[in-house]
């Protein structure tokens, strides 16, 4: 007897249809799985065997061959358990085969026959809809995630007998409640109201949020760089539905999304500085997304930038430049999206006390620190803010700024940008190309003169010139000004990163 069950294999961030063929023959009892399956899939024999018996089904004493087609695609993970079990039940005529044709099934089995949460359910559900299937059976915990895909009947089930009931024509359980509408829930990120002092840094954070600019925080250890960076999430505009679905898909494939439903908040990823290049941008024999992709539509926070290995920082180049990273394995290329906002923090020198008489770094230390920081990454930093320890009075002062107020201003500024840049393919000032800068950023005469002067003084490079204009445009947007005025350019100059390299070494 032969049975066919449709399921899906995760491939990059998408899923590919896999047909599980189960064949039962007379002969010595045996159970083999073929079709480029990895260890987790081969182990599924034991799970399926036990789950069937513990759910009061018979395990056929036959020669069982399971084929996962197409055979050229590598299959990993335990998501094929349920399909294999259903196939065996259908092939041994414990279940009617007809119903199986309209369902895709996906899930991991426990030995008791219960279904477990699986990675990548959203990608699977999208695949099922693309394949034109009527319904998808998934573990109950994943049902809300699968239900994000419109036009697909999703049955969330808890155990193998429940699956059998559906396939015998029983009523599927109530569809899971629709995902809550986006952005309604209050963000649970820490609030800016907790911050004391740091007025300059909060202002820089506001500008960074408004224009999606990359931000470098420089200051001695313990001044609150990390604390501030974590609060950026709370002032960013909420994810759009489309963005949220993308983020959910990535996080689900990476196994980070366990709650079901949509990811509501922009992700913040803060990898430790010992991270390897594949960990940062994605990789592995079967490529999985790295931190840069997990931070897609959110924030990648690199604490202690100068401690990251040179190769890791170099690897970030393409993701920063193109917003995607392409990973090539064999003949296949897998593309992960990596459109994140980069926030980095650094000590001004290895001991962190640069500029104060207590700094005890040697020339060699300073030179090494400087070399570490220079390069392509720094070139992408639009803003630099120096942080100092807040004074005792500042610490004792009442709460300064609430995230909600800043968020409103940021939101308004983003809308102005979107309106101005409609049809150009970019949405934020940070993405302005030199051509778009010329077209869309009009500086008034005084602003122009201010910029000209610092450029002529040799204080600004050509690239730095563009950065200042982009930031000045954002500052004007925050103010609701159509033109970029001198005050905007001046403030942008005050936050320029140009001479971060001029440590105590430079004259």
């Amino acid at each position: 007897m032969l049975a066919r069950v449709t399921t899906f294999a995760i491939d990059g961030l998408a899923s590919r249809r896999v047909t599980v063929e189960v064949d039962l023959r007379r002969g010595l009892p045996a159970f083999t799985i073929v079709g480029r399956a990895d260890a987790a899939v081969r182990e599924s024999r034991e799970r399926v065997h036990a789950a069937l018996l513990n759910s009061d089904f018979a395990f056929p004493q036959r020669r069982i061959t399971v084929n996962l087609a197409p055979a050229h695609l590598r299959k990993v993970g335990p998501g094929f358990d349920l399909a294999t079990a259903c196939g065996i039940l259908a092939a041994s005529e414990q279940l009617p085969a007809t119903e199986l044709e309209c369902w895709a099934v996906f899930g991991e089995l426990s030995l008791s026959g219960e279904l477990r949460h699986c990675r990548g359910v959203l990608a699977v559900a999208e695949g099922a809809r693309r394949a034109g299937l009527a319904g998808l059976i998934v573990p109950r915990e994943c049902a809300r995630e699968a239900a994000l895909v419109d036009g697909l009947a999703v049955a969330g089930v808890a155990s193998l007998p429940e699956v059998a009931a559906i396939l015998r024509g029983g009523r599927p359980p109530e569809p899971p409640p629709a995902a809550p509408s986006n952005g309604a829930e209050a963000a649970e990120a820490p609030d800016l109201a907790d911050v004391r002092g740091h007025a300059g840094a909060i202002r820089a954070l506001t500008i960074a949020a408004a224009g999606a600019h990359n931000l470098l925080l420089s200051g001695p250890p313990g001044t609150g760089k990390t604390m501030l960076a974590r609060r950026l999430v709370s002032v960013l505009p909420p994810l759009s539905r489309e963005e949220a679905v993308t983020v959910t898909r990535i996080h689900s494939v990476a196994g980070l999304h366990t709650g079901g439903g949509l990811v509501q908040q922009r992700p913040l990823r803060a990898p430790h500085h010992t991270i390897s290049p594949p960990g940062l941008v994605g990789g592995g024999t079967l490529p999985s997304p790295g931190e840069a992709s997990l931070a897609h539509h959110g924030i990648l926070f690199l604490d202690e930038l100068s401690e990251f290995s040179r190769s890791s920082l170099e690897a970030l180049r393409q993701p920063l430049e193109d917003g995607v990273v392409a990973i090539v394995r064999g003949q296949r290329t897998i593309v992960f999206p990596t459109r994140f906002q980069l926030i980095a923090s650094t000590n001004p020198c290895p001991c962190g006390l640069a500029g104060s008489p207590r700094c005890r770094c040697s020339d060699g230390d300073l030179a090494r620190h400087r070399r570490k920081l220079s390069g392509p990454l720094l070139d992408r930093m639009d803003l630099l803010v120096y942080m100092q320890r807040p004074t005792a009075e500042q610490l004792a002062a009442v709460a300064g700024t609430a995230s909600a107020d800043v968020r409103a201003a940021v939101h308004a500024a983003r809308e102005r940008q979107a309106a101005r840049l409609a049809g150009t393919g970019v949405a934020t000032n940070a993405e302005l190309t030199p051509r778009l800068l010329r077209e869309h950023v009009r500086a008034d005469a005084r602003a122009h003169a201010a910029l000209q002067r610092s450029y002529a003084d040799g204080e600004l490079s050509a690239r730095g010139h563009g950065r200042i204009l982009r930031v000045a445009r954002t500052i004007a947007d925050l103010e609701g000004s159509a033109r970029v005025r001198a005050a905007h350019v001046n403030e942008a100059l005050g936050l320029r990163q140009e001479d971060v390299l001029e440590g105590a070494l430079a004259a």
């Binding site: 420089s218 020339d363 300064g400 403030e491 004259a507």
Partner: protein, 364 residues
């Protein structure tokens, strides 16, 4: 402008003996004594069991080959027997036999001629931002009055003095411990290029020479010899710039120092000089009065804050008062907005400079 065969031969000998000097040296005085020895005695003192080989090499020295090398490196040589050799330097017994010049050779006379006043500005490699600002201000003020600023292009104070002089187009003269065609320290390559292009860079060492440790105190004797006044801007105890001051004193030249905080270890050496009777130098005007005579030249007036709009003037006053960071100046983000823009404007107008760690320094 040229160098005689004997002096070129002497230079080649010193370069060849450089590793031997490195092994034998005790302190800077010893180095100067060695460098004052004649060729034979220098060989006798240093060569040891390699003496026969080195003597043969010394005898076989071919000045034609050396001149070709200099030409290739784009250097010009001037020896003690040439009229263009800086007259002030010639007075020292241990003065270099040959000076190699990178840049237009005619400029050497303009920078270090008989009637051209020259002041050395030296100090710590790791200086505080106000020390750097003072050095820059001295460089600018002295150069603007036509006084040659002599220094060694080291990190920190030296480079700041050169940079200040370059801001007003010189004159400034750079003395290197490496060959004059070797930018040392390498991180100052761009400053080196600017100095060669418009000023002059000199060294007693032949083309392509990479410096040993002893070459730096040796270079300092040239700096001291070239200048009529040596100013130490910031020096810790046991700093190389104190050697320059000592050598200048021995030549009978004036020595000055910029006072620093008595609590700061990095100004301990320069403060000790003041205690021992060095001239107090507060700004370029003090240095000019000393080098040229009181009232002969007036330093460039600093920018007058009176011309600023009242809010900027107030901001500048607060920075001068010690609230020199954005965090210290602003309590709220809205204030920070004003402060950031104001500080940048003051920077553009030349009143402030953003230093390391985001501290703003008053420009002098």
């Amino acid at each position: 402008m040229s160098a005689c065969d004997g002096c070129l031969r002497r230079t080649a000998l010193v370069a060849r003996l450089a590793p031997h000097v490195e092994r034998a040296r005790r302190d800077h005085r010893h180095i100067c004594e060695l460098l004052a020895l004649s060729d034979d005695r220098l060989l006798a003192a240093l060569a040891g069991d390699r003496r026969a080989v080195l003597e043969r090499l010394h005898e076989r020295f071919d000045p034609g080959v050396e001149r070709a090398r200099l030409l290739q490196a784009g250097l010009h040589a001037v020896c003690r027997h040439d009229a263009d050799y800086p007259p002030r330097l010639e007075q020292a017994a241990d003065a270099p036999a040959v000076l190699h010049v990178a840049g237009d050779p005619a400029r050497l006379a303009a920078l270090a001629g008989e009637d051209v006043p020259a002041v050395a500005v030296v100090g710590a490699r790791r200086a505080g931002h106000d020390g750097l600002e003072v050095a820059r201000g001295l460089g600018r003020g002295l150069a603007a009055a036509g006084v040659t600023v002599v220094s060694g292009m080291a990190l920190g104070i030296d480079s700041a003095a050169h940079a200040g002089a370059l801001e007003v187009g010189g004159p400034t003269l750079t003395v290197l411990a490496s060959g004059a065609d070797v930018p040392y320290p390498p991180s100052k390559r761009s400053l080196y290029r600017a100095l060669v292009r418009t000023q002059a860079v000199i060294s007693e060492m032949p083309a392509g020479f990479r410096p040993f440790k002893w070459c730096f105190p040796a270079r300092n004797r040239t700096i001291a010899g070239l200048a009529s006044l040596t100013i130490v801007v910031e020096a810790a105890e046991r700093s190389g710039s104190l050697i320059t001051a000592e050598l200048a004193q021995e030549l009978g030249r004036a020595v000055g120092a910029v006072p620093g905080s008595v609590l700061a270890p990095r100004a301990a050496g320069s403060n000790a000089l003041l205690r021992d009777g060095a001239l107090v130098i507060r700004h370029a005007q003090d240095a000019l009065d000393e080098a040229l005579g009181i009232g002969v030249a007036t330093a460039l007036p600093g920018r007058d804050p009176g011309e600023l709009a009242p809010p900027l003037r107030a901001l500048l006053a607060r920075v001068e008062d010690g609230r020199d960071t954005v965090s210290a100046l602003a309590e709220t983000p809205a204030e920070a907005q004003q402060v950031l823009a104001g500080l940048a404007e003051l920077e553009l107008l030349g009143f402030l400079r953003r230093g390391p760690g985001g501290r703003y320094v008053r420009r002098v």
